[in-house]
């Protein structure tokens, strides 16, 4: 038996706790509580096992990972293991002393999230008064420390028109990279889809804004589009169980952060099984690995090793069967459900905020 190739990156969701309550949060609807969170020794073991398995980069995420008092220790562990460490943070808990401790521990990169460029827009999404000022202050501290910084903007119907101002803010704050990520419609995002999904015109305008900024040079731009307006699916996670492994606050190991919606399969936990066993032989990681599981139209499609059948969680959420072709694909018999969602998104329901 040949083993699958090892994962490249680990998303370490240290906690689901967060001072913000964004209605598109990537955490699952069923949030894990503080009492269930792994302790420092277990996270250290996870990092050691990940490095041993072949992981090269660890993304410390959440929730807000800065609520964990052991974050600096875990960054040191990553450094000792030669794992490239990235902190994905809202920045609202960052101050000079904490940043200096993270810097000394060997943190390689920070991804700082912004909800908008305007205070009103940011507070409407994040739900935290004063957050924008704290984020700007955090960005200036990071800039002064020299730690490379990416600004992340999640965009949706309400803020998509302000993409040029987002780039201007990134340049003003001295970020090397900007990520303009259209909301992904899973979990909380899916609950709020009809309120957040941009129109096709808005999407086209946002793509033009990104292209115009790239043409200026001097700022590296990552652009993630919403796949509801596409006719071919995205190669979700670079293929199930191929490059990416996610560990939740309580130690569940997942092929992607949304995978807990997949029914009829056990979610292995690092407290019970080794990471390598989970990656290599667990039913969860093997259920959609490669191309053998594929139904038509994927099975005979020339793109099957490019998009890997798209996203399993989207197939689950929109067709009720995770083994179906991603309905974003126009060849899917369920593609009308995506088209219908685009039409329904013209209404304006209220936002539903994430909560425990």
């Amino acid at each position: 038996m040949t083993l699958p190739s090892p994962p490249m990156s680990l998303l370490a969701e240290l906690t689901h706790r967060c001072p913000l309550s964004c209605p598109y949060c990537s955490n699952p609807l069923e949030l894990e509580r503080k009492a269930a969170e792994l302790d420092t020794a277990t996270w250290t073991s996870v990092l050691e096992q990940a490095a041993e398995l072949g992981v090269l980069q660890v993304h410390f995420s959440g929730g807000e990972p800065m609520v964990r008092p052991d974050l600096v220790d875990l960054v040191s562990v990553a450094r000792r293991l030669n794992l490239y460490s990235n902190l994905i943070t809202s920045g609202v808990l960052l101050d000079e002393a904490k940043l200096e401790a993270l810097d000394k521990a060997g943190l390689d990169h920070i991804q700082l999230s912004f909800q908008d460029v305007t205070e009103a827009g940011a507070e409407r999404i994040g739900g935290l008064k004063g957050a924008q000022v704290r984020k700007i202050a955090a960005a200036r501290l990071i800039r002064a420390s020299g730690i490379p910084m990416t600004l992340n903007f999640v965009v949706h119907r309400e803020n998509v028109a302000r993409i040029p101002e987002m780039f201007a803010l990134a340049r003003e704050l001295g970020a090397g990279r900007v990520e303009i990520a259209h909301t992904q419609y899973y979990g909380w995002g899916l609950k709020n889809r009809d309120a957040l999904l941009p129109s096709r015109d808005q999407l086209e305008e946002s793509t033009r804004a990104v292209e115009a900024e790239r043409a200026k040079g001097g700022l590296s731009v990552d652009y993630v589009t919403p796949d509801y307006h596409a006719d071919r699916p995205k190669p979700c996670m670079g293929g199930w169980g191929q490059r990416f492994v996610n560990v939740t606050p309580s130690g569940r190991v997942l092929p992607c952060h949304a995978a807990e919606i997949i029914p009829d399969v056990a979610f292995p936990n690092v407290q019970d099984v080794t990471l390598s066993e989970i990656w290599n032989i667990s039913p969860l990681f093997n259920m959609f690995r490669g191309t053998d599981w594929m139904p038509e139209p994927c099975r005979s499609c020339e793109r099957k090793e490019r998009d890997w059948g798209g996203c399993r969680c989207q197939a689950m959420a929109l067709t009720g069967n995770a083994a179906n072709t991603d309905p974003v694909c126009s060849l899917s018999p369920y593609h009308d459900r995506v088209e219908q969602a685009v039409t329904e998104a013209s209404e304006r329901p209220e936002l539903l905020y994430r909560h425990f």
Partner: protein, 96 residues
């Protein structure tokens, strides 16, 4: 390739920009450069060149050392080294 003024010459002293580093991936037995939110594989002569970057040696010193190490003509080595280091400097992986 278009002719642009060379930002890297034999006198340049280079090192990795913050957030970038050369690393041997022992699980896959590959050399990689770690960078913000990505890692890229480098092959052929590139790892031999990049491991000599220490922020002290000049590009000329690196060329000299590799010419001796690989018993290869200096001008051949120089061409490869300058091309690689220019490219990575333009991409902000390396800086002076």
């Amino acid at each position: 390739m278009t002719e642009t003024p060379r930002i890297v010459t034999e006198e340049t002293v280079l090192s990795f920009a913050r957030g970038h580093r050369l690393q041997h991936d022992r699980v896959r037995d590959l050399w990689i450069v770690q960078a913000p939110e990505k890692a890229f594989v480098i092959e052929g002569a590139a790892p031999h060149i990049l491991r000599l970057l220490d922020g002290k040696r000049s590009v000329g010193d690196i060329i000299q050392q590799l010419a001796i190490e690989f018993s290869a003509p200096r001008e051949v080595i120089a061409k490869d080294v300058l091309a690689l280091l220019s490219e990575l400097t333009e991409k902000n992986v390396l800086h002076t």
